[in-house]
Symmetry: C2
């Protein structure tokens, strides 16, 4: 099934079930008001959501409505844990040893952005970058869980854009709020593309309308999601609703483009001695999505524009005469 | 007023109002089920909790019961943000320049421990340390808030024990779950001891029943809580229920003892060329509390024992004959 969170003015939003084709949705209010509440009691709640999902996909759900990603918050608008990892080979060292340590870090999970949220930042001089990636949302995971056990606790997958400032800054300051795809899906929605605890599909990134990356998200993933979640649960147990991001997707050859500007610049520096791809500027837009084997979007798209803090959009001038 | 969270088997526990003398409490279920929900709508909820608090302190609350810290979870058993800072002068460099950067780091807020929770760790060889400290819980704080504005958003104060492994480890692995005092209090409960956004009281630490520290929590605080919260809100807004810890209390002279073993060892190394105070061993116990000017505990005590992971206490042998 596919789940999303509607912006209803509350801090946690309203849980909705979304049709497989992302065209319609239905409120899950009789089942669980929020995604966190569903995750808190997944064994009991998930079958009810699944039944509603089947009704919706069969065109039999009552009170379904058009699904509009722009009305969505992040699937979890605030998460008790958002752990950012780096699970891919370093693009600057494609032939170096595979990195075994996925370098985990706790991020600020208390304020996660919806798929169309503006990236509001103080200064372009901070070297604004994106990091287009996959993330999983887990159930409770015991401390010290083996990868097989951790794998069983993965409840949902989604996409994230972990905006990063690349200018040398303390880690705390280098990570503004992360944005998420409108939809989180259970692993079964990925079918054959979900195997070896990896997603065998390309992650597509467009910058200002031009494709800049479509690397395969599985090929050069050094640490799969089972290993990542187990690694995150090594020092302490994880609780339901923990989000673990795998870091910007990267392939060993740069032929498929990039999911983070820093990757592209590292390759440029290694090959040509100089990085030429610029970091993001105010006004730049991003579109991040993943298509299935049939060319259909799995999670919906992250679509963001970079703006200076406090940016107010210009008034829309109507073509019609005022009455 | 004083608030706590009773362990009722749920993930977030049950919000209770506690009497000023910590002897009795009353369930706040008609007002807010959990502390997070109270913080989510503080302007509306706090006056109702305050009215209940006044009834309780006047001995007029219905259905009050004995307050037992051992039955409490952390005031916020899971927090959307737990930010650890270092707001005190480095004890190894008491005469060095005051550290202006409080070195903030996001911790794992999704699984915070109650005041009497066992510290379960895999190995004594990891150099197990405590970090006894004050922490504030905030309301929403806008990005870029000035210290004066940040100060107005401080809703509660409490104590924390941020257990740390001092063996060289990635930051993610060096921070097991943090424990909190049973009670969080509104700033007005501190009276004259709350001024300049600092708490002018000693933090008392006992190790295995022996006092090892009672430094003043205000004297050498380089960054006060208004500055700390403003610093935390510099890169991104903070949301209600954010916890900001000030780091282990430390005074410039070591005469008042220590609130972290690493501090004591740093002083020993600086003075004698060798650290002699050992890190924590399995079986070691800690007691952390803060007394007001009248010698009464403000927040109740954190009382923890260090045990190996999976430790099972020996069965209690009854002195009475079985029937």
């Amino acid at each position: 099934m596919k789940l999303a969170t509607l912006d209803d003015g509350t801090r946690d939003g309203q849980l909705i079930v979304v049709a497989r084709d992302l065209k319609t949705a239905v409120v899950a209010d009789g089942i669980a008001a929020t995604l966190q509440r569903a995750l808190d009691d997944w064994a009991f709640i998930a079958p009810q959501l699944d039944a509603l999902s089947r009704q919706l996909n069969d065109g039999k759900a009552r009170r379904s409505f058009e699904f509009l990603p722009a009305r969505c918050l992040a699937p979890l608008p605030r998460a008790f844990a958002w752990i950012a990892a780096q699970a891919y080979r370093d693009p600057a060292e494609p032939d170096g040893p595979a990195r075994k340590d996925p370098r985990l870090i706790h991020g600020g999970g208390g304020d996660l952005l919806g798929p169309c949220a503006t990236i509001e930042l103080a200064s372009e001089a901070d070297d604004i970058d994106f990091a287009a990636q996959l993330a999983v949302i887990t159930d409770d995971v015991p401390q010290g869980a083996a990868p097989d056990e951790a794998f069983q606790q993965i409840r949902l997958l989604t996409l994230a854009n972990d905006i990063a400032l690349r200018r040398p800054l303390p880690a705390f300051d280098a990570s503004p709020a992360t944005a998420f795809a409108p939809v989180a899906v259970t692993p079964d929605e990925l079918g054959e593309a979900w195997r070896d605890a990896k997603v065998h599909l390309a992650l597509r990134v467009a910058r200002n309308g031009r494709n800049v990356g479509q690397p395969d998200a599985a090929r050069d993933m050094v640490c799969n999601f089972a290993q990542l979640v187990a690694r995150a649960a090594a020092p302490r147990r994880l609780r339901a609703g923990t989000i673990v991001g795998a870091g910007a997707v990267a392939n060993r050859t740069g032929k498929k483009g990039y999911c983070a500007i820093a990757h592209q610049r590292a390759v440029e520096t290694a090959v040509d001695g100089q990085a030429v791809t610029p970091f993001l500027a105010f006004g730049d837009s991003l579109r991040i999505e993943m298509l299935d084997a049939d060319g259909k979007a799995v999670f919906g798209a992250i679509e963001q524009t970079v703006r200076p803090t406090g940016y107010v959009p210009p008034p829309v001038v109507s073509a019609e005469k005022p009455e």
